[in-house]
């Protein structure tokens, strides 16, 4: 009798683990890590060295992943909320990053494309770009919430026009900023060997965590995503919740714009943050969140973002040419979508039941 109970609880732990949302991203991470280790045992070595400015920096594959995955993690925060609330995805984030970056540079340059001095403090320029990006987010949100346009179609407008708008903001010029202050956000702060983007991502994660913990945003968002009508009958305003989610994504976009611009101290409107929306959506999917909205797990999305960057960086390491990368990512997407499809889930359910029945027999 007792033995049986122990067995049952063991089974439960296993089942719970598999059911847990973090299971898929963790599994993906484990597969990637093993794959990397087999190919090159020293792959996870991290070394402390100096960069050309004489400041200490950490380097190694893991650091590169944490560094370059940060933008994706930040976008995944906003994308998770948008997905949960609206049951759709924003495909304009790449174009919106171009706009935010362009506004930032325009403010820093003050119209002169090769400024000797910054026209205003970076923080002020950043806040202005935040406002602009949030306005564009609100624009998407209004289309989705009030006009009931499918999110992907609504954001297609900005996806198409965004990069042209970004080019227009700077008169199609290519400002180059030489001030070292700007380079800190996408590089290293002198004396701190950990890449700044990782810090920025962690700050965003912390803020989001606190917001979800101390406000009802998470609950309301899920309620709207699960059933808009019943949430309205319970006194929520689904429109406002949806718009808020798009505005928060806009804020994330502005932060990413700052990091991206800081990395190259400049901007190229047609390629900055290109196809990043696909990675951000993939992060949400990899985190086990339903792309049709409703319940979400923020931590899983953020974790998923870093796993995707790990995948990208691994593919670079194995010299898979960059234009074949999307094909590999597509394979991951297909596997995820198939696993989470209702028919497959049902089938899994049946199989486990059969298995249990057999065991009992």
């Amino acid at each position: 009798m007792q033995k049986n109970e122990v067995k049952k609880s063991n089974e439960n732990i296993l089942m719970r683990m598999v059911r847990n949302q973090m299971f898929i991203p963790l599994l993906a991470l484990a597969v990637l890590a093993i794959f990397n280790l087999i190919a090159d045992p020293s792959v996870f070595k991290i070394t402390l060295s100096e960069n050309s400015a004489g400041n200490p920096v950490l380097s190694g594959l893991l650091i590169t992943v944490l560094d370059n995955g940060s933008e994706l993690a930040i976008l995944a925060i906003g994308m998770t909320l948008v997905t949960a609330a609206s049951g759709g995805q924003d495909i304009s984030v790449g174009a919106a990053v171009a706009i935010a970056g362009s506004v930032l540079l325009r403010m820093l340059c003050g119209g002169n494309s090769r400024p000797e001095e910054l026209a205003m403090p970076i923080i002020v320029a950043f806040l202005i770009s935040c406002v602009v990006a949030m306005l564009f987010g609100a624009f998407n949100g209004v289309l989705v919430a009030y006009f009931k346009i499918q999110p992907m179609i609504a954001t297609l407008i900005l996806y198409t026009a965004g990069r042209s708008i970004a080019a227009w903001i700077n008169n199609n010029e290519l400002p180059v900023i030489t001030d070292p202050g700007l380079s800190y956000f996408g590089g290293f702060i002198p004396g701190i060997p950990i890449p700044t983007p990782f810090f920025i991502a962690m700050i965003c994660v912390l803020i989001m965590f606190l917001v979800l913990k101390f406000t009802n945003l998470g609950l309301y968002t899920q309620a709207v995503g699960i059933n808009e009508n019943s949430s309205r009958l319970n006194g929520l305003n689904p429109q406002i919740i949806k718009i808020i989610s798009f505005v928060i994504l806009g804020l994330c976009v502005a932060v990413v714009g700052l990091i991206k611009v800081s990395r190259v101290q400049s901007i190229n409107y047609s390629v900055i943050a290109k196809d990043i929306e696909m990675d951000a959506i993939l992060a949400v999917a990899l985190g086990g969140n339903a792309l049709s909205g409703g319940k979400f797990n923020m931590a899983a999305s953020i974790f998923g973002a870093y796993v995707i960057q790990f995948l990208t960086q691994t593919l670079y390491k194995f010299k898979v040419s960059a234009d074949a990368l999307p094909a590999y990512k597509a394979v991951v997407v297909i596997i995820l979508v198939v696993i989470s499809a209702p028919t497959v889930k049902e089938w899994f359910g049946k199989m486990t039941k059969k298995f249990k029945v057999k065991e009992v027999a």
Partner: protein, 373 residues
């Protein structure tokens, strides 16, 4: 209800702002071409096909009007009759190359130089054909064409021949019988690559371990610049590609590719990036790892396109080489028109422009001013 109305108004206002913003932008940039702009080579328009049509049309109409007005205002110069040219080009917003190209044409075909020019821009072949037909109906002496696509031009060119309009192609070639146009002025992408590779060979390194960062695969610029290097690597034992990947003209991707090579600990001493942006990204990765580059550095940095900022890097000795894709075609076109007007025959229909390559050791401030785009 009130909230709904407010939201609707807001949405309408934003849509309007978007459209107007775009249209205004296009117009503004056609009026004042940028001194220095984004990079990219001539043939990678596809990368940036995203401009919205509505705004484009509006801008085109506006540009058309201003061009017409300007033409009406200025009477023919005293020296002789004006030559009417219709110029169909790709959108100057497409890339820094195109902006420089458009600026160059605008400066050449002025009333002072005896021309009456009409400009039309589109990155779509069918729109370009429609513009060409309009121009032919209005009557022009010369049609200057940088076609968006190679196919579909036969009828238009036949119409032009019937109307007595002479056609000169610039920058792009098309699939049409040679008898239908007078001359074709093109960049030689393979020559750009050859020049760069020859320069690299002249550096006399013991061994060449090259990180090759490619542009968007399949574009003419990528093929020309890759081809020369591939040949050389196949021919020489001491030349080795450490990695050969496309970063799609993107600085960040280039940075990640170089970063991954540095992380793997493989040795390299040359970075051959097919445009300036990607070279810049690669250099950012080197700086983070404290690897010296440029003149007297461990790693040779090579870029293409000759952006002004890139030439400044050369001047500062941080890069070694920058190859040009010549956007200044107006002089060549002008020469062709002058000789045709004088009744001369054009001996060689395909005119290949000189391409320059700059070495950090020999570049001067004047080069930066004259050839930076």
């Amino acid at each position: 209800m009130l909230k709904k109305k407010v939201a609707m108004l807001l949405a309408v206002a934003m849509v309007a702002a978007t459209v107007v913003g775009c249209g205004g932008g296009d117009k503004e940039t056609t009026d004042t071409p940028a001194d220095d702009a984004t990079t990219d080579a001539p043939a990678d328009d596809a990368a940036d096909d995203t401009a919205d049509d509505a705004a484009d049309d509006a801008a085109d109409d506006a540009a058309d009007d201003t061009a017409d007005d300007a033409a009406d205002d200025t009477e023919a110069p005293a020296s002789g009759e004006t030559i009417k040219v219709g110029i169909i080009n790709n959108d100057p917003n497409e890339s820094g190359y195109r902006t420089a190209n458009d600026k160059d044409l605008k400066e050449k075909f002025t009333a002072e130089n005896g021309y009456e020019a009409t400009f039309q821009y589109s990155m779509k072949n069918d729109e370009q054909i429609a513009y060409a037909q309009n121009m032919l109906t209005e009557g022009i002496d010369y049609l200057l064409l940088s076609a968006a696509d190679t196919a579909g031009w036969d009828t238009v060119l036949q119409d032009a021949a019937d109307a007595g309009t002479k056609v000169i192609l610039f920058d792009r070639v098309i699939d049409a019988d040679e008898s239908l146009y007078e001359a074709s002025i093109v960049s030689d992408m393979a020559e750009e690559g050859n020049k760069a590779v020859t320069w690299l060979a002249d550096q006399g390194l013991d061994e060449y371990n090259i990180i090759h960062i490619q542009g968007v695969m399949g574009s003419a610029a990528q093929q020309g610049r890759t081809g020369a290097l591939d040949e050389k690597v196949a021919a020489e034992d001491s030349w080795k590609l450490v990695t050969q990947q496309t970063a799609e003209w993107n600085a960040e991707k280039a940075q990640q590719i170089v970063q991954s090579v540095i992380d793997s600990g493989e040795k390299f001493n040359v970075i051959y990036a097919e445009n300036d942006d990607m070279a810049k990204g690669a250099v950012a990765a080197l700086d983070a790892a404290n690897i010296s580059h440029g003149v007297d550095g461990e790693v040779i940095i090579m870029g293409f396109d000759c952006n002004k900022w890139a030439l400044e890097e050369l001047l500062a000795g941080k890069w070694n080489y920058d190859g040009q894709c010549n956007p200044f075609q107006s002089d060549y076109i002008d020469d062709v028109i002058k000789s045709l007007e004088a009744g001369e025959e054009i001996a060689e229909k395909t005119i290949i422009m000189d391409e320059k390559g700059f070495d950090a050791k020999t570049i001067t401030q004047e080069d930066v001013e004259n050839f930076g785009i």
